[in-house]
Symmetry: C2
Amino acid sequence: MSDQPTKDAMTPEERHRERMQRKKELVDRKIARATIDRGVLVVNTGNGKGKSSSGFGMLARSLGHGFKCGVVQFIKGTFSTGEEAFFRRLAGDQLDYYVMGEGFTWETQDKARDIAAAQAAWKIAAGMLADPAYDFVLLDELNIALVKQYVQLEQVLEAVAARPPRQHVVITGRGAPNGLIAVADTVTEMRVVKHAFEAGIKAQKGVEL
Amino acid sequence: MSDQPTKDAMTPEERHRERMQRKKELVDRKIARATIDRGVLVVNTGNGKGKSSSGFGMLARSLGHGFKCGVVQFIKGTFSTGEEAFFRRLAGDQLDYYVMGEGFTWETQDKARDIAAAQAAWKIAAGMLADPAYDFVLLDELNIALVKQYVQLEQVLEAVAARPPRQHVVITGRGAPNGLIAVADTVTEMRVVKHAFEAGIKAQKGVEL
């Protein structure tokens, strides 16, 4: 109770300042404790929107810092996508961009072809993970290929563990295997609260496409 | 039981094709039902990583489609961010980009200044929402300003409802108010499974910055 009179004498502005000062000290202490500086493995999973688009946002950040970047898209619909047009147009040789999947599995309806496409995509990806020239690697929808066992988890875990220590890797897609989550640094589950598609709204350019 | 013998006679490839054909019919029916074609309101919320980066990924998609885009960042740390460098460098007059916040509330420690900055940012945002020239508008971290009531929810709901029918709007930040979720078309909660920062890893350029 002893400091109560003092508190009462404070203006709302002073109280705000005091609260924010305490918060700043807390945040600063947390920042001071985070001293490890190395490449991270980020996994975006779950059924909600934002897994791939968040990966492409990080790609934009990385390009903004002048990083050499690699992208492999493991599954691609037959639609043309805005991000491909955009990043290809302007990134020049700062970016290597591969679209390997020939479409969703229910479009090709040919398992052997899907496996061959996934393996070809993985070969490119493994090359990037082994190459210290790449600062940032986005493996879009790799989780789908892992769930279907078109690419083996052990191959991915090995390549990720052996990668250059400063290289960031982002892996997206539903159903990230537990073994991948275990070795990742940052994992987010994108949870659907609601989705426009379920309300009868078409996939929209700039948002989904 | 009557078609059991036929199924048994199918090769694994035929069974895969049949399963995928059924899936394709299901997906195609869903796509056929989604006939509404208009601008959508997307909200990214929750405590996990990916809310802003997903917004910037959608911005890249929109720019890739040649859309006129607007970005207002309501809260900005003192660090320089890769996405700002990247998008400013190359988008030219296809993009208007405003960074309005002067830092996190615990950095400024000045509530009146924070409110003034949020209000100035909202004024720019409201102008974009009223302007049919903008196809895509990203209001990054607006939810934070709403939670703190530096911007009033009623103002935002009104501006969003009155916007041009083809305009897409993406609003990000923790703690999206229920009133905003109610009118949004697509809402994702980014849920933390784990975060590198909690394991003592510094915020990384290209990933967080």
